[in-house]
Symmetry: C2
Subunit: 285 residues, 2 copies
């Protein structure tokens, strides 16, 4: 069993917010992640799990501190698992830009030097971290996934490639077409090289065209988001779903931006959406 070190444990909304460190074999470095255990965890070892993937520059702390999701996880009895956004440590390749390297793993398996030695975030989130959770935390097999911006891209691509694994997927301001925006082109060319065919595994629009979408999907998008058009957030995916007659829910929110103020405002609706998809009875709220 992989060793897990508890870095901190904070009582919150009747449950516990804990931060862990472990040695990741997939990423070849020490990693940290956070878990919120709702109060129901004390007596119920069959609670569903919601993964949250964060955006550029973030660690697990941003969502843990700013989104306010724990109160809804506590209300409906959901475990939150919040990974970091890239490999970390002195020996890990980095870039001067905020949008490549540490804090910008883009949830891909890098194939190019110097990135491939550590940047295997897709496998980390899809395989290694869930195995660690299963080893250390008693939970049900019901899993959903959500995220913001680069993390919304991560949530959508991972769900599109593994629909049988998840009850539902949601995203805030996701980068849905990284093959066609500056953030995505910079990251995918660095991590995967120039063969754009390999990029299609990490592009929600390309994956949607190839595989369709077979699980419930909710997206919230602020209309005052500075990156809405320039970084291909939400709309190309929404348009493609309409073209393919796929029924997803997309809410465009007037005046809301790209910040955690936006996420905090609608996280209740997202956790509720996942709770319903996970079969939790929420009729009395």
């Amino acid at each position: 069993m992989a060793a897990l070190t508890t870095l901190s444990a904070n009582r919150m909304f009747g449950g516990w917010h804990k931060k862990y460190q472990h040695s990741s074999a997939t990423l070849n470095c020490e990693m940290q992640f956070s878990v919120y255990f709702p109060p129901q965890y004390q007596t119920d070892k069959d609670l569903p799990v919601l993964y949250w993937l964060s955006g550029l520059t973030c660690t697990d702390d941003n969502f843990s501190h700013k989104a306010g999701a724990q109160q809804y996880a506590a209300r409906w009895g959901i475990i939150l698992v919040i990974p970091d956004t890239s490999p970390r440590g002195d020996g890990v390749a980095d870039d001067d830009g905020y949008d490549l390297g540490k804090g910008a793993g883009f949830y891909v398996n890098a194939t190019q030097s110097p990135w491939s030695a550590h940047y295997q975030m897709y496998d980390y989130v899809v395989s290694e971290l869930p195995e660690i959770i299963t080893q250390h935390i008693s939970a049900s097999s019901k899993i959903s996934i959500s995220g913001h911006s680069m993390g919304g891209h991560g949530a959508l691509t991972i769900a599109l490639r593994n629909p049988q694994r998840f009850c539902s997927v949601s995203a805030f301001a996701p980068i849905v077409n990284p093959m066609a925006c500056d953030w995505g082109k910079k990251a995918l060319s660095a991590y995967l090289g120039d063969d754009q065919q390999s990029w299609r595994l990490y592009d929600s629009c390309a994956l949607l065209e190839a595989h369709g979408l077979s699980l419930p999907c909710l997206i919230d998008q602020g209309l005052a988001d500075d990156f809405l058009t320039s970084q291909q957030l939400t709309r190309p995916f929404d348009d493609l779903c309409k073209k393919m007659s796929l029924d997803i829910q997309v809410n465009y929110r007037a005046d809301y931006d790209h910040s955690y103020f936006f996420i905090a405002s609608f996280i209740e609706a997202h956790v509720r959406f996942h709770a319903k998809a996970m079969g939790i009875n929420i009729t009395h709220d």
Copy 2:
């Protein structure tokens, strides 16, 4: 009218979270503060105001980002005003410790050099900032005050000295007896000098003994708070209230610590407490 520069405006919970900068005559420097305008502000210019005073090392951002208070302000139609914790800027005296100087104004009017040139946080919070709010924001005269740790000390001392100004006061883990703890002795001796008689104006226990308490008061205190005993949080004030047969509500929370995880867990109850004291009808929640 004092000029106010809007630094940022973020849509949040149907209202607006705004950050301002202004030139403070009281503090003799540029200051920043935040205001949350609930959605009701669009049509109702007679909403009550809740002031929040933050703790050591904080700016207005910590509460703005981490407490989750805006959703309750939005629910019940309350304007939040969130000042910084000290004067700021290159010309302002500072100390190497986190518990003196910038980020540690202790809501006092300093009389000692070099602090007295800028550290007049009592007057800033009690007089200058409310005047600026009145000049720029249409609101009712109903005001309440709350805070955390050093800010809980600020809220209690300001309310005890100006009971007619506030509908209610509340605090999370307040430093209630700074004359008797290391944080308080260091700050009060630096800002006010060695004459401990002058410290009594900024000690909640001393003020309570001198004046009593004539407004509703709620305190939450984590029992896993590392500073509970060493920094004279909550208990001496609670004990004194009992001795004086004053009816305040103090909740000791098992396992909760001094962090914003604690504040976030109980901020709903505090905003509700103030809403009731302000006469807001909350029977339908």
